[in-house]
Point group: C2
Chain length 339, copies 2
């Protein structure tokens, strides 16, 4: 139900009964490699286009999440999915393969938590017994669409981020064993006038801070409630700006640990990723892989995942527009520990 101005509390505590993550070789080689279910050795996945490779990531993660939940596709009522591609083709074509009634969503890289929040809402309200939330991105498709084909080898400034090749999906259920979703905060669009598509972290940081502050205001809790707050993919530059904004707003972020998925997925010393990771797949695989694994092991009890999205298009950029950004937050708490 509505709590405060823009948050939902889920009194029936929808359960994440399973999740699955599928990544490319570069992500598999990173510090979270052990947390991913499938690591492809070939980032093309044997497909004849990068777009088909991205779709395959989504299909594999979705199918595996359903399988991990010991369900069949026809037991899942709704698939809530989206991605960064024009007309979210990766998700829509995956939905064709899955043949599950489909709600396409778009929040750029915030799609991971937008889809999870909606899936939780559906289950909490009795509108679904099982809902699948998923998203994906692929380094080669995203770089090609938003900037330059990777084959060009164009140089990038240190503020640029490296799009994650990966897909994460989760099955949310009325009951079962696993972490539970307790609340969500839906963000509003924040645009501080930044127009450099090679500095998304800086553009998105104010949206992340706005949603985090709204979450604690709406829920009437303090940051210390959580063991960990993670933003989606602000990476180094955006993370520092978020810290500065918290300090300026006198927001007590220091009560808890605060990290960023874009800073967690790669090894800055070994992997050349400029400011860090990004893409819909970034927060999805870090959350559905690494963080849920830590919750299942009992290392984390309560986390707030704040996925951030830059809602530009190449065309809006070419027309001189600045970058509107958004962030959606989902609170996940340990349920019954699975053994």
């Amino acid at each position: 139900m509505l709590k405060g101005h823009q948050s939902w509390t889920f009194e029936n505590k929808p359960v994440i009964v399973s999740s699955a993550t599928v990544v490319g070789p570069f992500e598999g080689d990173g510090p979270l490699g052990d947390d991913f279910d499938i690591i492809h050795g070939d980032s093309r996945l044997g497909q004849d286009s990068w777009e088909k490779a991205e779709r395959t990531l989504m299909e594999e993660a979705s199918s595996l999440a359903i399988e991990n939940a010991k369900l069949t596709k026809d037991q899942v009522q709704f698939y809530v999915g989206g991605d960064l591609m024009n007309q979210i083709i990766s998700s829509s074509f995956a939905a064709r393969t899955l043949a599950i009634p489909y709600l396409g969503v778009f929040g750029a890289c915030s799609t991971s938590m937008e889809s999870l929040a909606i899936a939780a809402m559906l289950v909490n309200s009795g509108s679904a017994k099982y809902a699948l939330a998923g998203t994906c991105s692929h380094n080669a498709t995203v770089e090609k669409q938003f900037r330059y084909p990777t084959e060009y080898g164009s140089q990038k400034p240190p503020t640029a981020q490296y799009t994650v090749t990966g897909s994460g999906a989760a099955v949310v259920a009325e009951k079962g064993i696993g972490p539970v979703i307790t609340s969500a905060t839906i963000g509003r669009v924040i645009d501080m006038g930044i127009s450099d598509p090679f500095n998304m972290g800086a553009a998105m940081a104010p949206a992340a801070v706005d949603t985090i502050q709204a979450h604690f205001r709406d829920l009437e809790i303090e940051p210390s409630y959580y063991d960990l707050i993670v933003t989606g993919d602000l990476s180094k530059v955006g993370y520092q700006i978020a810290l500065d904004l918290f300090e300026k707003h006198k927001f007590p972020i220091k009560q808890t640990k605060y990290n960023d998925c874009g800073m967690m997925i790669y090894d800055y010393d070994r992997q050349m990723v400029q400011a860090g990771g990004s893409g819909c797949g970034c927060s999805a695989v870090v959350t559905y892989g690494h963080l849920l694994n830590r919750m299942r092991k009992g290392e984390l009890r309560r986390i707030l995942v704040v996925a951030t999205g830059a809602l530009l298009s190449p065309l809006s950029y070419q027309q001189g527009e600045s970058i509107p950004c958004i962030a959606h937050a989902v609170s996940i708490e340990a349920g019954e520990v699975s053994v």
Copy 2:
């Protein structure tokens, strides 16, 4: 709550307390002209790009719907919106202007009913007091993105459809005066192998039929329950295919009136629109303008709006893919009649 396999019933009967429609000159000149709130004389709306014109349609329809509901923007908790543009920039930039917490959705031309179904779900479950649903399309932006810039004057086959320049928005509320939303059916992706982007109606018809049949199966009612069933934008070609499919499946569509928004918005004799209208704005302005007006006047008591979407992208088409399609249905019934 979940009803059958893929439908929701809204036991708290969320009310469409207001709606607003904004269209271009060509739509204003059509047979439904009197039903639209704002008819622009210049399809550029005084903006310096077609994309900015489209966004302005969305901003105007949203603001007017909120004003018509006698609300201010900060009383509306969530804006659920989407459109056909890459990265749904029209809706996202409108969300920046509105500053209302935003759920971006994408279902191509089915977005009108996807957004309305989600808005109804939010209000029905107590997750919002007021939710705004809206979508838009513009002939010049869509033709440019999916086919050719209109300035080229390229010829079109008779199966092609004419993208509507228009935006429709509705405010859904917990209580109030107006038509109520009683149920929704979320479609699955259907792809019968059609790959011609100049024949969307044929591609989408099977998805419309699939969702309509699912709706009646899930709700355990017959077509005679409704005064009118309208599909989104199948237009002449797709409408005939839908009729053929109903006959083949022995589905009693003849129990009620069945029409299509794409066949209603233009005058085939006077306006050169090939098979008829299309675009996210088509079902939005026909529903939020014409059909709701007829309900408010008491001419219609129960309608089922089945918005259809073709989930292709120019890139998926260029890569030789067929067109995955979807349809979402929303049932609207007369509430207290507004005077």
